[in-house]
Amino acid sequence: MSFRSIPIGAAIGLLLTFLFLAAAIFAPWLAPFGKAQIVGDVWAPMSSTHWLGTDNIGRDLLSRIIFGARTTIFIAVLATMLSFTLGAVLGFTAAVVGGWFDMVMSRLVDLLMAIPTLIFGLVVLSVLPTTIVTLILVMGILDSTRVYRLARAVAVDINVMDFVEAARLRGEGTVWVIFREILPNALSPLISELGLRFIYAVLFLSALSFLGLGVQPPEADWGGMVKENKDGIVFGIGAALIPAAAIAALAISVNLVADWVLNRTTSLKGGRG
């Protein structure tokens, strides 16, 4: 394959995702001002010193967006990793082992999914301390139900195929069956799901922070920044729209990349086309 074969949408998505990641990693070197540094008037308009203007207490909005990328992406990545590991391991095991383990796990997941994630998240957060660790755990565990369902469904489908039966007839063990026969074939739906879960984590975290129940000040993520600046809207000050747009841009980029990855890895010719 060459770079030419990347469709335009995926290319834009890749570029933006890369830019956001770079901003998150190199935040202290990229940001023109400090995270909490008050550098100007309240809600100053965009200018050459403050490219995106300033926020509700006079901090540089661009700098805060760059630092906010760090918080948002960091928490979302960890939550996604947790939900993925948990969901995929349990889902595969349930599919291959079957029996009571599968039954108990599947009913439990059905139950958890019967309550909307946001509502259950709010219920739990009403008693838990609002720390970053709590957030990651709550988001990761609640979201792992979706990964579990997908992983189990995909693995069950593959498990009944003749090539898995052929491996069993040969005498292969469970480990070979899971890692060499099932996993390579489950990878492409799972990778695309990874993208979707990450987007969902970003949106969920932002919603919680926007509601004042996520990342707490003085730390700031993008959702929290929307909350800080939302009162400006009625005065025609668009500062709140900028972090909100950043969330949308990140989510759309990752979505575009995930879409493309799914299309590419579905090809069964080893990418040779």
Binding site: D162, F163, R168, L169, R170, G171, T266, S267, L268, K269
Partner: protein, 554 residues
């Protein structure tokens, strides 16, 4: 069945297709869209009341040509050249309204899978008369009356009330006949039959075939009969057209095509079942001995296998023949240990095999290999051919590196595929090549017995023939025994040493091939043998008259 044959407005042929060209755009995932030519410069003429058989392997373009007579292209299929004259006017020149008025009125269609072609939400009668009412061929009451007559003619059970049923309440063979009645109901000039009996069991196929033939004869409707089975088409057609890769190979009278084919390809199709095989007499000690095996799925009381006993001798082939639901594939599952028998035992050489797969030692597993019907799902699509064939070598013989690669190359040689295929993925192989790789994977274990579960039934006849020849050759070289499971008696005749006929979970006839295939027959074997289409004009009538029992599909 009074019918006015003068509905046609003009003299001359009913259907006259000239220089037809059909193209389609395909969208392979992750690749650029591509244009492919499905039909290239094909011309045909069909007189009123005549039947033309279109025959060819998959990808020959026969269905595409059939549908083009209705101005229809499936998916992204486009008719890009030529003329299609129906009743004297070119339907390519008509607008969409003109084409619509001819579909269901002048030309009707009978699909391969009637089960999918009927709308599950409506009663059969509503669907059967729909086209007649839509095109004002007759009033609804008249159409229903005619439909009932056709139901009776096609020997459907309770013809007066079967129309009140929903599609899922009727069996597959019956649905196929209801669909034929649906096509006949609007009194068209032409019916396109698209593989109408392919999805049916042989003993059901013969009844549906006879019903279709009689209906065609009595109504004087013309037909395009599309199939891949030359023996079937020979029963109903006046003329036969052989197609390959979208091009015309040969076109002639039925007698000429099946008796004096002029083209080499046609000759290959005609003589596809002729494989020279000398039957071996059973040896004195069986390799595998199945004794009184009974098995069922789950805890159900329905026994899928009832007291089955068969022997397989070293280096020989036992063919297990039966229709769907006969328990022949279950027998394979019981032997391999995938479905542990409830009672009875399976002995291999001198030892009794453990009932459950998990309890069998690796050496037992090695000596008994299996090849599946669907080669594309029997191989892991994410592994290369080298990995697929190499794994048994690593697993059973601990071969590594160059030694293994060397052996993989030898095996590829044996299945008549070159070394170049080693790093291909299954998706890059044709159907026949995939099945060959599966054979190589089984051979890699150096087994004494290979279970072949319908290994040729998903393949085109010529490809299947190649696979059978390969299997016979390998049997001579490697001295391996086969348990050959199939529904196709023609295959059995060409390769078996002994035969077991299964019916509803029981072995109804068992012995050396020559003995099983000579009279006197039991009723079921008689029916099965008579149901296998023969390349002989008039076979159908003889078979229907001579049989002692009627197929289960009725």
């Amino acid at each position: 069945m009074a019918r006015t044959p003068t509905k046609g407005r003009k003299d001359g042929p009913l259907l006259d297709i000239r220089n037809l060209r059909i193209e389609a755009t395909v969208y392979p995932p992750g690749e650029q869209p591509r244009n492919v030519v499905l039909v290239d410069d094909v011309s045909l003429k069909l007189e009123r009341g005549k039947v033309l058989g279109l025959i060819g392997e998959s990808g020959a373009g026969k269905s595409t040509i059939g549908l083009s007579s209705m101005g229809f292209g499936r998916g992204g299929v486009r008719i890009t050249g030529g003329e299609i004259l129906l009743n004297g006017r070119d339907i390519r020149k008509g607008n969409t309204g003109d084409v619509r008025r001819l579909r269901g009125k002048e030309v009707c269609y009978v699909a391969q899978s009637a089960a999918a072609a009927f709308n599950p939400a409506h009663k059969l009668m509503d669907q059967v008369v729909e086209a007649s009412v839509e095109h004002r061929v007759s009033s609804r009451a008249e159409a229903e009356k005619r439909a009932v007559e056709f139901f009776r003619k096609l020997s459907l059970p309770s013809p007066e009330t079967i129309g009140d049923r929903y599609p899922h309440q009727v069996s597959g063979g019956q649905l196929q006949r209801v669909m034929t009645a649906m096509a006949l109901c609007s009194e068209p000039d032409l019916i396109v039959f698209d593989e109408p009996t392919t999805a049916l069991d042989v003993t059901t196929q013969i009844d549906v075939l006879a019903a279709i033939k009689e209906a065609i004869r009595d109504t004087h409707v013309a037909a395009l009969y599309i199939t891949h089975d030359l023996a079937v088409v020979a029963q109903v057609s006046d003329e036969i057209m052989v197609l390959r890769h979208g091009k015309l190979v040969e076109w002639g009278g039925t007698q000429q095509i099946i008796k004096e084919p002029r083209q080499e390809y046609t000759n290959a199709l005609v003589s596809v079942h002729h494989i020279e095989h000398q039957e071996h007499a059973p040896g004195n000690k069986p390799l595998l001995s199945v004794k009184n095996v009974t098995a069922s799925y789950g805890n159900s009381a329905i026994k899928v296998l009832k007291d089955v006993s068969v022997d397989i001798y070293p280096g020989q082939t036992l063919a297990v023949v039966g229709e769907s639901g006969s328990g022949k594939s279950t027998l394979a599952r019981a032997i391999t240990g995938l479905l542990p028998p409830e009672s009875g035992s399976v002995a291999f050489e001198d030892r009794t095999l453990a009932n459950r797969l998990a309890d069998r030692p690796r050496a037992d597993l090695r000596e008994l290999q299996m090849i599946y019907q669907m080669a594309d799902v029997a191989m892991n699509p994410r592994q290369t051919v080298a990995t697929i064939i190499g794994r048994p070598l690593e697993f059973y013989f601990k071969m590594r590196g160059r030694e293994r690669d060397q052996r993989v190359a030898e095996l590829l040689e044996k299945i008549e595929m070159g070394k170049g295929f080693a790093d291909r993925y299954p998706a890059e192989l044709s159907g026949g090549q995939k099945q060959r790789v599966c054979i190589a994977r089984a051979l890699a274990a150096k087994p004494k017995l290979i279970i072949c579960d319908e290994v040729t039934s998903a393949l085109d006849p010529l490809v299947a023939n190649g696979i059978l020849k390969l299997l016979l050759g390998l049997q001579k070289e490697e001295d391996v025994a086969y348990l050959f499971i199939t529904h196709d008696l023609a295959t059995v005749k060409s390769i078996a040493d002994s035969i077991a006929v299964m019916y509803r979970g029981e072995v109804v006839r068992y012995g050396p091939k020559s003995q099983v295939l000579s009279p006197p027959f039991d009723d079921y074997t008689d029916l099965l043998l008579r149901s296998v289409p023969e390349m002989e004009i008039g076979w159908l009538e003889k078979a229907i008259q001579g049989r002692k029992m009627v197929g289960a599909g009725n």
